[in-house]
């Protein structure tokens, strides 16, 4: 009943408008190489202060899962992945285009994204409330253990070096502790400056790291060739359709559980799904030459992961990726504390957001298929026009949080840091999540130690299990996941 009310609420003109806007921005962001969903969400975050809470979260969520849809367009048509999660789509999508089957590739990518996205939202709808009720049993020790597990997973899975991940994550925690200690009121790492006494705000840091950093990196990007060929038949038929649908379902099954694990961003799920498809295929040697399964599976997986990533955020208040961290920030800015009480105290809000994901998936299917030619042309918009405008928006965004130039300088510093980190392949996800979760992490740790000392983490079963899971994640990551090609930080 709550879900039905939520879907009905989405059909209010304002909410529908924000849903459409989010999906439109998301597809645009997915299509434009170099502009990730986390970057766009960070840039638009200050604007959400002027919107109502429901509308702002609907829009940000639409950008996130919409980008997964849009990323496939340029991967298939011009062999340039719009998002990191669409890299595997290039392997077979572009060969399909060269064979005159671009339409079928785009169609199966959109269908796969829709199927997986719908499964993901169904998962959130039916599992989310149960998980949230379970989360009510969590005390400070359990929360600390969960945060520790999340950060550990992120540090070991993001990027190619555990030391770099650890350095980035702990630096995020240190940056988060700058300012006034909430429990005693003493200044920490303020260096005698008034600006730092108030600590670092998340908006300038996010805008700088993802916005300014991204623009500086993309100042070097080139222009792709515009796709001028015909799309061919849109809908795959017969065996191709059967194979494609099968791969969609398998990709969705791979991606759905991965979304709840911190650090497993859509790019990792899409690579794993592609790998799996190749392994189980009767003709693995044909992958890379235009196999429809090679397009369907990664697209389904990345969308499934994007959707189920909302589950830990809504149920526990724990973001699993930088994009989720930005949604968490948006929730906090609007005075909403994500976690188990959100499902109880803000029922209308939460079910409207979940309902908007159903509607958003339909909107994206409509946007992506008929308008594919338009998106292909937009994808090669020269960055020389876009870059300075986005830089200007970043400056305004950073300034808007506290109306102080100090925050803009912080954004610039974060931007330079983000640029250097990207150039030198340092993962950004641990840094931003360490920064966002730092206050919660410290509070949970200090409260737990005050209640029961260090042994409390081992006396409470949920906390113990989470610590064991953290160790397992480290072992699994070091042994198996290093094989998966990562390239840049998949968190963006």
């Amino acid at each position: 009943m709550d879900l039905i009310h939520g879907i009905i609420n989405v059909f209010s003109p304002l909410n529908l408008f924000y849903c459409l806007l989010g999906c439109l921005f998301g597809t645009l962001v997915g299509v434009l190489p170099g502009l990730g969903p986390a970057t766009t969400m960070a840039i638009l975050l200050p604007i959400t202060m002027y919107l109502n809470p429901t509308g702002s979260i609907i829009m940000l969520a639409g950008i996130y899962y919409g980008a997964q849809y849009g990323g496939s367009t340029t991967s298939i048509l011009v062999n340039i992945p719009g998002e990191t999660s669409s890299v595997p789509t290039c392997f077979d999508g572009y060969p399909m285009t060269k064979q005159g089957r671009a339409g079928q590739a785009l169609c199966i990518a959109a269908i796969g994204s829709f199927i997986a996205g719908t499964f993901g939202v169904l998962g959130i709808s039916f599992v989310g409330i149960g998980v949230a009720k379970y989360a009510l049993k969590f005390g400070p020790a359990e929360y600390f253990a969960l945060l520790f597990f999340s950060l550990t997973a992120l540090i070991t899975i993001s990027g190619s070096s555990v030391i770099k991940g650890l350095g980035a994550g702990v630096t995020g925690l240190v940056l988060a502790s700058m300012g006034t200690d909430p429990m005693t009121g003493v200044g920490r790492l303020t260096f005698g400056t008034i600006g730092l006494t108030r600590g670092l705000e998340i908006i300038p840091v996010a805008v700088g790291l993802f916005g300014i950093g991204e623009i500086l990196i993309n100042a070097e990007a080139g222009i792709a060739k515009i796709y001028e060929g015909k799309l061919g038949k849109m809908m795959p038929r017969g065996k191709d359709l059967k194979k494609g649908l099968g791969a969609c379902l398998r990709g969705a099954i791979v991606g759905l559980p991965l979304g709840v694990i911190p650090g497993i961003a859509p790019p990792i799920a899409s690579f794993l799904a592609y790998d799996l498809e190749k392994k189980i295929s009767k003709y693995p040697e044909r992958f890379g030459s235009g196999m429809i399964e090679g397009v369907a599976a990664p697209e389904a997986a990345n969308n499934a992961t994007a959707q189920t990533g909302f589950l830990p955020l809504m149920a526990f208040g724990i973001p699993t990726s930088p994009a989720m961290a930005i949604i968490l920030t948006a929730l906090m800015i609007n005075g909403l504390k994500p976690g188990p009480l959100l499902f109880q105290e803000q029922k209308q809000f939460i079910w409207t957001v979940i309902g908007s994901m159903y509607i958003g998936n339909v909107i994206l299917l409509i946007l992506n298929l008929p308008l594919v030619g338009l998106w292909a042309r937009i994808s090669v918009l020269p960055y020389k026009y876009l870059g300075p405008v986005i830089l200007g928006i970043c400056v305004i965004g950073a300034y808007s949080s506290r109306n102080t130039m100090f925050d803009v300088w912080v954004a610039l510093g974060a931007g330079i840091l983000g640029y250097v980190m990207r150039k030198k392949h340092w993962p950004m996800a641990p840094l931003i999540l360490g920064f966002v979760l730092g206050p919660l992490f410290e509070e949970a740790l200090r409260q737990s130690l005050s209640i029961g000392g260090p042994l409390i983490f081992f006396r409470r079963p949920i906390s113990l299990v989470l610590f064991v899971c953290a160790i397992l994640v480290v072992i699994i990551s070091l042994k198996y996941l290093r094989r998966v090609s990562k390239g840049d930080d998949p968190g963006t």
């Binding site: 030391i163 026009y385 405008v389 830089l391 400056v395 640029y419």
Partner: protein, 187 residues
């Protein structure tokens, strides 16, 4: 007849270290050392701050076991360990790597300068905005940034700058009612 090397083991090691450092610099691998040093530096600052807080704070003012100091002290310690490990692993990696062409040789440095100039323009913009005000500093900023980004035609640049500045004014100042620095000359 073969000549025996009279260099001591220490001299040989020092020579290898000097050659290694020179090659690192040539191969632009110095950044690996800088990365480790930065981690070490942040760790030292964090630990020092943590120690200062644990020693200088009134124990009666602390309501929890950890206090504000120990937490940041241990974070600093972890960063220092990470920094040292990174430095060590970078040293081992560089020993086994072949000399690669430097960025200067491959032409990459030109691109990095454009990025550097864009960052410098941003710094100048943030500096002069308090003096000249938002409405004066912003068009100058866009003019320079568009030029650096690759808009070579000045007429197109000026048109773009005017359009974007006007759009920003109406959206952010007029509609969103944001208050930007007016500068010293406008109140």
């Amino acid at each position: 007849m073969e000549q025996r090397s009279s260099a001591s083991p220490l001299r040989v090691k020092l020579k290898r270290l000097r050659i290694f450092l020179e090659e690192s610099r040539e191969n632009m691998k110095m950044l690996g050392w800088i990365e480790g040093a930065v981690l070490l530096g942040i760790g030292l600052i964090g630990s020092a701050e943590g120690l200062r807080l644990t020693q200088n704070i009134d124990p009666d003012a602390i309501s929890d076991v950890l206090g504000p100091g120990y937490y940041i002290f241990f974070l600093g310690l972890i960063l220092m360990i990470a920094g040292v490990t990174h430095l060590f692993s970078h040293y081992r990696k560089t020993l086994s790597m072949k000399k690669e062409p430097s960025d200067r040789e491959t032409g990459k440095q030109k691109t990095n300068l454009t990025v550097l100039y864009m960052a410098v323009v941003l710094v100048i913009y943030l500096t002069i905005i308090n003096i000249a005000g938002y409405l004066v500093a912003t068009p100058i900023f866009f003019l320079l940034e568009f030029r650096l980004a690759g808009v070579k035609s000045w007429s197109r640049n000026v048109i773009l700058t005017l359009v974007i500045t006007t759009a920003f004014y109406f959206i952010f100042i007029n509609y969103c009612r944001m208050v930007f620095p007016p500068g010293l000359f406008f109140k």
